[in-house]
Symmetry: C2
Subunit: 191 residues, 2 copies
């Protein structure tokens, strides 16, 4: 199953199978059940997670007790609170499995050791973060450009299979609107 991670890395840089066998020892493989929470707000966020299969959700809880989703991570995506991970500080976020999932987790200490030992991987992570940051620039544009209705249709248009995969209230919490309003929008478009 870790083969998937090897294939992902080799999409961006060249590494040998032998090196990968050493690289993988820096990670923990974890089997998560739906609803397992792996990071809690106010705690340290010492790990970065790579999803082999399943789906993770990063969210926070606001004053009114509502969950707001910052991002999802499916197969081949990384997930962590980047600043908390980088600064070794506490996080405001929860990270939860919303499907049964297999993930690879690396601690900040191990990541440092890993990058010292395999500096090639700096390039891999540079590209990962560059793409991630670029994606949020586009997301920001959409947030500013679109009405809530357009945000919703834009999303299900671009990611129809993922929209199927998660419950509607989670999608609403990610897109920044209420489940009730999603209902209304869907209803409107049906007629």
């Amino acid at each position: 199953m870790t083969k998937r991670f090897f294939e992902h890395i080799t999409k961006f840089i060249e590494i040998e199978e032998g090196d990968f066998q050493k690289i993988i020892t820096f990670f923990d493989i974890k089997q998560l059940n739906k609803k397992d929470i792996i990071t809690e707000a106010t705690n340290k966020c010492n790990f970065n997670h790579f999803v082999l299969n399943g789906c993770l959700q990063m969210y926070f809880i606001n004053d009114k007790g509502a969950e707001r989703t910052i991002q999802f991570a499916i197969e081949d995506w990384w997930m962590t609170d980047c600043l908390a991970f980088h600064n070794e500080g506490t996080t405001d976020f929860y990270i939860q499995a919303i499907e049964n999932s297999q993930i690879l987790s690396i601690s900040i200490d191990n990541q440092k050791k890993l990058l010292d030992q395999f500096p090639k991987l700096e390039k891999y992570f540079r590209i990962i973060y560059q793409i991630s940051f670029g994606a949020t620039q586009i997301r920001m544009k959409n947030l500013y450009d679109f009405s809530k209705e357009e945000i919703y249709f834009d999303f299900i248009d671009k990611y129809p299979e993922f929209a199927q995969r998660i419950p509607q209230y989670l999608l609403a919490s990610y897109l920044g609107l209420t489940p009730e309003y999603v209902s209304e929008i869907r209803n409107k478009s049906r007629s």
Copy 2:
């Protein structure tokens, strides 16, 4: 003036003055006047920019002709449309100097050559992008968590000097509210 860039790099990785002299040859130094536009929507976005002094703004223009600001870059910040730069595609954004500015610009081709020749710099860029991405996670949280009024006060609370530095309508365009509403908020808090 490029010394500032040298100092920025050495905050994150160790390099020698001699290497830096070679590194800097991959960049163009540009002197920009206020209102100079260096990237236009629908064009290629082949450059990544580092601000030595002054301030850049990245924005797009929506259907109604209104400018919405994606981000600002002041001293020691990088700015580009990451995905367009990385994929060598066209951008939806404009990049404009909003003060007289000095910047270092590197083309995508030169960046590739630079990183091949000085792989050490992969680490530098990895950290830059990691921090940038982390910052947008927090920004996303604030966007979802706060009312427009809270977004405004949170910003001028965190970056009072920068809020002074730019006109109010640009700040409004960055925070995602109308200049009129900023007026209203400020007025309310005054009484």
